[in-house]
Every structure is written in C-alpha cells, then in structure tokens.
C-alpha cells in the first residue's frame, strides 16, 4: 500500500529507506530526495507564525500522476517520508497519518536500542520486519 518509506536525519542524510519494489528503489529515492525542499519549507514555516499547524504531520508534500508523497517530522528533526500509489484512492489521509504515527513509534523503539548510534544508517531486523508490515498495510 506504500511504495516507499524513508527516514531522513537531522542533516537530511538518509537513515533508512525501503521500497516495496527493489527495481524502483533508485527512482523512489530520487523522488524522496526531491521532496526534501518542501519538507524543509514546511519545517521552517513553523515558528514564523505561519498559520501552519504545529503537528508533526506535514501532509502531502507533492503528488504526481503515479505517486503521492507525504511528510512527517519528529521534534528531533528526523523526517519521515511515505510514498504511496496515487491510483490507490481508497487510502484516506488519516490512514497515512496512522502510518506515520506507527512509524514514529517504531522509530522511537529503534533509536532506543542502545547499540544504535544516532545519526547513522539504521539497520535492524526488528525494524525491517515492522516496516514491511506497515508498508503492506497490515499493522
């Protein structure tokens, strides 16, 4: 149900990226990367007294005929990005929110692994499994 889930560090370095289809990985990575401008924009809008909501969910960053790309930022400036299939009209936005929330929880737990060094790429079986679940939409 999601094409790609990506986690991007404070400094916009990729910490984790998984795609439903390995063939498309590079392409999706390009798209996710391109989304960062908007993410930053939205992060900055906050605190500029902009009407923007203060919630961590950044909403739809951009969409193409094929993809919808959503963003989320934690208070620790870690960015989550979820790419979903545009054609999938069934997917409601609040489902995306839910995905982000779950992802956030997973991420929190992953970060709490004392053997994970913050800022480095995350490789964790546990996390992989959970994220796979998340992508396939059965959480």
């Amino acid at each position: 149900m999601a094409f790609c889930i990506a986690i991007i560090g404070k400094d916009n370095a990729p910490l984790y990226l998984v795609t439903s289809d390995v063939e498309k990985e590079l392409d999706l990575q390009y798209r996710v990367h391109a989304a960062l401008d908007v993410v930053e924009e939205k992060c900055q809008l906050l605190g500029k007294g902009a009407p923007e909501t203060k919630e961590l969910y950044l909403g739809l960053l951009y969409s193409t005929e094929t993809h919808k790309i959503y963003g989320f930022v934690t208070n620790s400036k870690i960015k989550f990005i979820i790419v979903i299939d545009s054609s999938n009209v069934a997917l409601r936005e609040n489902e995306v929110r839910a995905m982000f929330r779950n992802l956030h929880i997973l991420w929190n737990d992953a970060v709490c692994n004392p053997f994970y060094i913050p800022g480095e790429q995350l490789n964790s079986k546990k996390f992989d499994r959970a994220v796979q679940k998340l992508m396939s939409g059965n959480v």
Binding site: K54, T74, N75, H104, N108, C112, P118
Partner: protein, 152 residues
C-alpha cells in the same frame, strides 16, 4: 514509588562504577551515560507533543514536563536571562535526597548531578539545541542546574 528505588539503586551503582575505575575521566563518563540516555529518552517523550515553535518552548518542555516525568516533582524555580541562559532550581533533587546533608557530603555532590547534567544536555541536543549544562549544589539536597545554550 517502588520503581523509583530500582532506578535510584541503578543510578547509585552507575556512579560507583564510574568512580570505581580511574579517577580523572569518570565524571565525564557519568555525564556521557546521562547524555545518551537523555538523547534517546526525549525521542520518546516528545512523540505526542506538537512541534516546538522555538527555543523557549523547547526549554519549557524540558524544564517542566520532562523534569517532572523524570524527577517526580516540578522544578521549584526556572529562570532565564533570555540570552540562552536558563537556570533550573530544585530544592530537593532526587539523587541528593538520599545522602545526608553535610559539608563532607558536599564535595561528593558532583557525582550525583553529573548524570542529570548529561541527561538534560542529551535531551536538548536531540531537540536541536546545543548546550552546556552545569550544576551547583549549595546545600544538599537543593541543587541548581545552569543550562547555557551555545548558539551557532
């Protein structure tokens, strides 16, 4: 609270551990243990809180909510000079309540605050605020933490 005592024991042991091996870098180690703990913990604690608008908001969170959660009591006093210097006063600091007051104890005080300095620094740094956290203990169990934000 029954869980608290467990942590207090652990904390005491950690202090011993750090002071056990060679003397010079132990406080640093202690502080660092605190740092990593804070860095990770804050990730969880801010999960449900909305995005912080600015430094002040963040500071408020750390010095009120965060503090209360960890130390089971609100800080007695929080002041700032609005130039990145914040002072947190705790009249009965959790890790100092267990040691009997007295001049002799006073020199041991640093052991019991180092972890917390790290904890706070870690939490802040993960929220994007680089700071230097120091503490001073005038009379056990009262304790004051100075948080100095390093801009740029």
């Amino acid at each position: 609270m029954s869980e608290e005592i467990v942590f207090d024991c652990l904390h005491a042991e950690i202090v011993n551990y750090c002071l056990g091996n060679n003397k010079e870098h132990d406080l640093a180690t202690l502080e660092y243990i605190g740092f990593t703990t804070g860095y990770r913990l804050i990730e969880r604690l801010t999960r449900d809180s909305s995005r912080f608008k600015d430094e002040l908001e963040t500071m408020k969170f750390i010095c009120t909510d965060f503090w209360t959660l960890i130390y089971k009591k609100q800080v007695d006093n929080l002041r700032t000079n609005n130039h990145g210097m914040y002072v947190v006063q705790d009249k009965a600091f959790r890790f100092l309540t267990r040691i009997s007051p007295g001049a002799k104890q006073l020199e041991h005080a640093p052991k019991f605050v180092a972890f917390t300095c790290g904890l706070v620094r870690g939490a802040l740094s993960n929220l994007g605020i680089n700071s230097t956290v120091t503490a001073d203990v005038q009379s056990i169990p009262a304790c004051r933490f100075h948080i100095e934000v390093n801009r740029n």
